[in-house]
């Protein structure tokens, strides 16, 4: 009887269930989107019950599509959008309001207040993250402050907190009938409530954010979830959970210290494995857990690019210069260079490594010579230079240059962009044969825990190169262009300072 591993990828816009075989080949995919709610400007919510119902549909659907039965599934791994969380009643399973999504910025004022509190440096030191709206703790605090009676219920342990991994595992393992209330270290590391050193909830952090410990799940290593489904498709072992970007790092088999993966979708997410060493960034990166297989965690540095593919979407939808996103490359190729034009897409501030929430985007270097082709180039180059800034910061923090960048995500179909990234980093860029690295990472972790794959080396053998872009740009030209980009970025700071309305 042939056996398989299943992954559930609970993403920001949809939830997918994917079945892989032992060669890491994709056997079936089932997917359902869920609604985004924007009840007020800056608020982003999702219905956790809708997401759970979607899982209820796609799991059996994936099995049917693969033509297999549940006893052929040796393990299930769960990966999820990070930081998004939901609160629910332990006795009824009914959520308290909707899930608050990582993109939600309702806590801007609260974050500014907390920033002034004593102990703020200590917070960053313990959890590895700068205080920002998109981590879970500020939004959780907001819920506790704004929903009547919630704090008392949370203190009594009647209300539970969970990131989406926790919510799905609790439901799959029985819900009100003994559901497991657990999370993995990578998801916990994005809440601002976990101590990176002990990898447990930190009393000082809980006190700082005013969060009762009684509502929090147990933190476990990524491959020690140890649950069994009793609902939807009963009898499947849930053996692993990882946040989506951490799963991508694992799926790209970035197991060595210093290896980096970049996922290019709406935004860009770069993670570097720093091995057993907890590196505190001096260059504007986040410290997080890469994954934890067994006793020792692999730490990671993370740099996020807020606007990557979304800049192409903006170019398509708001400027109307192209019909579809891939046409950006066609338009960019109508000219041979950027013509001296640069676009810094600081639409809602700049993320890593600058962290300047007030910065706003700009287009500089306009002359009568510039046409839409140059603008298209500048759009793609913006993602390249932002990658360079993050990789430079990673190399500086680790003290050694990374030899290669492993990429995945929809934008890897953009040949010009991938070549440009190789050129500006001056290292090869590699794309693996399996594009679904997030799901694959969760499947790998789950299969490893269940003994389906023997060890990391076995996983590495499944990684095959689909494309490699080698750097060809002249060094002098590269540094001149980088200097121009940096000047453009500085101008966004100047704009932030001079604008009276911010």
């Amino acid at each position: 009887m042939q056996r398989f591993v299943m992954a559930i990828d609970q993403g920001t816009t949809s939830t997918r269930c994917i079945v892989f075989d032992q060669n890491a080949r994709l056997v079936a995919v089932a997917q359902r989107e869920h609604r985004q709610y924007h009840p007020r400007p800056g608020w982003v919510e999702q219905d956790a019950v809708e997401i759970w119902r979607n899982v209820d549909r796609i799991m059996p659907q994936a099995l049917r599509q693969a033509g297999i039965t549940s006893d052929q599934v040796v393990a299930l791994g769960i990966t999820n959008q990070r930081e998004t969380f939901v609160l629910w009643d332990r006795h009824t399973g009914v959520p308290v309001g909707r899930a608050i999504v990582w993109e939600d910025i309702r806590t801007e004022e609260l974050v500014a207040e907390l920033e002034k509190q004593p102990g703020i440096e200590e917070v960053r030191d313990r959890c590895g993250l700068p205080l920002a709206t998109y981590f879970s703790a500020p939004s959780l605090r907001w819920m506790l402050d704004n929903v009547a009676g919630l704090r008392a219920k949370a203190e009594r342990g009647d209300v539970l907190f969970g990131t989406m991994d926790t919510w799905l595992i609790w439901n799959l393992t029985g819900g009100v009938n003994g559901g497991l209330h657990v999370t993995d270290v990578t998801n916990a590391s994005r809440t601002m409530l976990m101590n990176l050193g002990t990898r447990q909830w930190d009393p000082m952090l809980l006190e700082f954010f005013g969060v009762p410990a009684s509502m929090l799940p147990e933190i476990r290593p990524s491959t020690e979830i140890s649950g069994t489904t009793t609902r939807v498709v009963p009898g499947i072992s849930i053996t692993a959970a990882l946040g989506d970007q951490h799963a991508a790092l694992f799926g790209q088999t970035c197991f060595e210290k210093g290896s980096i993966k970049g996922t290019y979708g709406t935004g860009g997410f770069l993670l570097m494995n720093t091995g057993n060493e907890l590196v505190r960034s001096k260059h504007g990166l986040l410290t997080t857990i890469g994954y934890q297989i067994g006793g020792e965690p692999a730490y990671a540095l993370e740099g996020s690019i807020a606007v990557a593919g979304s800049l192409v979407q903006w170019f398509r939808d708001n400027l109307g210069l192209i019909h579809s996103a891939p046409e950006i490359e066609t338009l960019a190729r109508t000219v041979k260079d950027n013509g001296g034009c640069y676009i810094v897409p600081a639409f809602s501030g700049l993320f890593a490594p600058h962290w300047l929430a007030q910065a706003r985007g700009l287009v500089v270097g306009l002359t009568s010579y510039i046409n839409k082709g140059h603008l298209a180039r500048a759009v793609l180059e913006a993602t390249g230079w932002q990658t360079r800034e993050v990789v430079d910061a990673m190399n500086a923090d680790l003290g050694a240059p990374t030899p290669v960048l492993k990429v995945d995500g929809g934008m890897t179909a953009d040949h010009l962009l991938m070549q440009f990234i190789a050129d500006v980093l001056d290292i090869p860029v590699q794309r693996p044969l399996v594009a679904e690295t997030v799901s694959l990472g969760a499947a790998y972790a789950a299969g490893l825990a269940a003994g389906y794959w023997p060890d990391l080396e076995g996983l590495r053998r499944n990684w095959h190169l689909a494309a490699r872009w080698n750097p060809v740009m002249d060094a002098r030209h590269r540094e001149d262009e980088y200097a121009n980009w940096k000047r453009a970025v500085e101008l966004t700071f100047a704009w932030a300072r001079s604008s009276p309305s911010t």
Binding site: T330, H415, H464, A467
Partner: protein, 254 residues
């Protein structure tokens, strides 16, 4: 001689209606103007929308002529769009066949490689996107020739360059091969481009059947062909499935 096809006449009338006056009409207006049942008009509009001859305004629901009508003679599918839509299927083909995969489109009398996936054996390979391949000596090229009458006519008039001792250099022989390609729905080639190498390819179509590109595998002739020198049936099937999957993805997302 078959009679005129009513639905095509009606579609032409819809286009003429949209081409005059305000150029923006709702479903009911169009149906009433042409004396069609609403359901019939809706079906015609949906089909015209699918081939991009008509667009529907998202906000008002009204119909207008599509941008594709304005440049009917130029390219119907962007090369980068094709790569983006086909990337997962090309990966799947490489994983299944164990061979390198290319997607080609016609450009300037040659095959332009718009997508390339390495052979999944982790050997050192060079990315071939942007390379130009000869039409008459590759499986990708034969597919493009077989389904484009202008292109194959041009090929007949030109001298066919000999690349190996097996390259087809006589126009008549090429014409026979192209007829065979159309009959079987795929093309093969063994040692016609490079000694020791072979390739298999199949057409990528848009709705209506128009061939916009080709997807294929290439590798050593020993692995791609059986003892009689014919492409292996399993590999041909995998290439056809991939071509079908890409064709479907072009329909779905339009």
């Amino acid at each position: 001689m078959p009679g005129p096809i009513q639905s095509i006449e009606r579609a032409a009338a819809v286009l003429r209606l949209l081409a005059r006056g305000s150029g923006h009409h709702g479903l009911t207006e169009i149906a009433d103007s042409l004396g069609l049942a609403r359901g019939t008009a809706h079906g015609i509009l949906r089909t015209l929308q699918r081939v991009e001859f008509v667009e529907q305004d998202q906000a008002t629901g009204r119909y207008r002529l599509g941008a594709a009508l304005l440049h009917l003679g130029t390219s119907y599918l962007d090369a980068n769009e094709l790569r983006s839509r086909s990337i997962n299927w090309a990966d799947t083909l490489a994983a299944r066949s164990g061979q390198e995969v290319r997607i080609g489109m016609h450009h300037d009398g040659a095959v332009l490689v718009v997508h390339h996936v390495f052979r999944p054996d982790d050997s050192v390979q060079t990315l071939g996107i942007g390379a130009m391949l000869p039409l008459h000596a590759t499986a990708l090229g034969k597919v493009l020739l077989a389904y484009d009458p202008d292109l194959s006519a041009a090929a007949r008039r030109r001298e066919l360059t000999s690349l190996t001792r097996r390259t087809i250099v006589r126009a008549q022989a090429l014409e026979r091969v192209l007829t065979e390609v159309r009959a079987q729905g795929w093309a093969g080639e063994a040692e016609e481009y490079m000694p020791g190498e072979a390739s298999i390819a199949a057409p990528i179509r848009i709705p209506g059947g128009l061939v916009v590109g080709a997807i294929g595998i290439s590798g050593s002739a020993d692995r791609l062909c059986d003892s009689t020198g014919r492409p292996r049936a399993t590999l041909v099937r995998q290439v056809l499935q991939a071509a079908e999957a890409v064709t479907t993805s072009l329909v779905d997302e339009n």
